[in-house]
Symmetry: C2
Subunit: 178 residues, 2 copies
């Protein structure tokens, strides 16, 4: 699939919207709407040793207009221009939870919904946390909660946790890092 | 968070884009860009008993303009107007893989990326598959591949599978349905 032309329909604060004309593998062409996003990092912060008996993690309960209410998430945010995913993960961890991590391990990279956006989220596991400085953005309304891993897995199993990056991150750790 | 007003910026083929003015929990107001999406269903189709020794599933390798190439996914697609998630899952399974399922179990519902879209994907597990009719849409370029569960888990672990809904669905099954 190759790009023939691209028309910018909207320049936004968080996203941009393009209408791209592409050539498909069979030689035909078509139009696709594509939400351009700078990418993001997300991080699962462990208060205790991640492979410990029943460690605790920090979760965020955040008001999301898209969900008409609060949902459970891990700390995450957009990459600043030129910022590496690891630096972004540390920055968001400090802004949203008020902590920095001495150990940051990259887990996976996720296309959130590749049918209409190029957004990729880089997912990290963090531990050996130290006190940093809360610097929450003015339009973010969230509470920090601390939960045992066993309780978090119950929230995943029952469907209480619905955020895509959060589900993928927590389940990846349960399968491959425990 | 309550909606004060909404301005439609773009009416698209797959998505619409709104600029919403919302009142935040502290009483202040702000603008949020919101990609409106009708929602979707996705399905993990098992050729063998899902709890069997090393069952096989069908995966799709699909060209995605957003990813600049092909990526691994499970069959999925948008809800038609008035369609239930289960009917959509069966329809997409038949359109993309050419099979229908006698057993369809709902697993989880995922907000793909709630920072800028209301898209929700309803994830199902399917088994007892029977031959149906391929009816692929003209702008979908995909191949169907059959893989052992152990091999699929290897593709998740190493990062070869990057699609959010696919990661969440496969890892959920590995944790809670095996």
């Amino acid at each position: 699939m190759t790009l023939v032309s691209s028309e910018r329909l909207y320049n936004g604060r968080v996203i941009n919207l393009d209408r791209d004309t592409v050539r498909f593998p069979d030689g035909s062409t078509g139009e696709l709407e594509m939400v351009r996003h700078p990418g993001a990092s997300a991080v699962v912060p462990f208060l205790d040793e991640p492979r410990g008996a029943d460690p605790r993690i920090h979760l965020i309960r955040q008001f999301r207009h898209a969900a008409n209410g609060p949902i459970w998430e891990i700390p995450a945010g957009r990459l600043d221009p030129g910022e590496t995913p690891a630096t972004c993960a540390q920055r968001e961890l400090e802004e949203e939870i008020g902590l920095t991590a001495d150990v940051l391990a990259r887990l996976i990279t996720i296309y959130t919904t590749p049918g209409f956006t190029d957004e990729k989220i880089h997912v990290f596991l963090a531990h050996e946390l130290r006190k940093g400085v809360h610097r929450r953005e003015p339009d973010e309304f969230m509470e920090v909660h601390t939960r045992r891993w066993s309780e978090v897995m119950g929230m995943v199993r029952t469907g209480e946790i619905q955020d895509g990056k959060t589900l993928a991150a927590l389940l990846y750790i349960q399968c491959f890092r425990r």
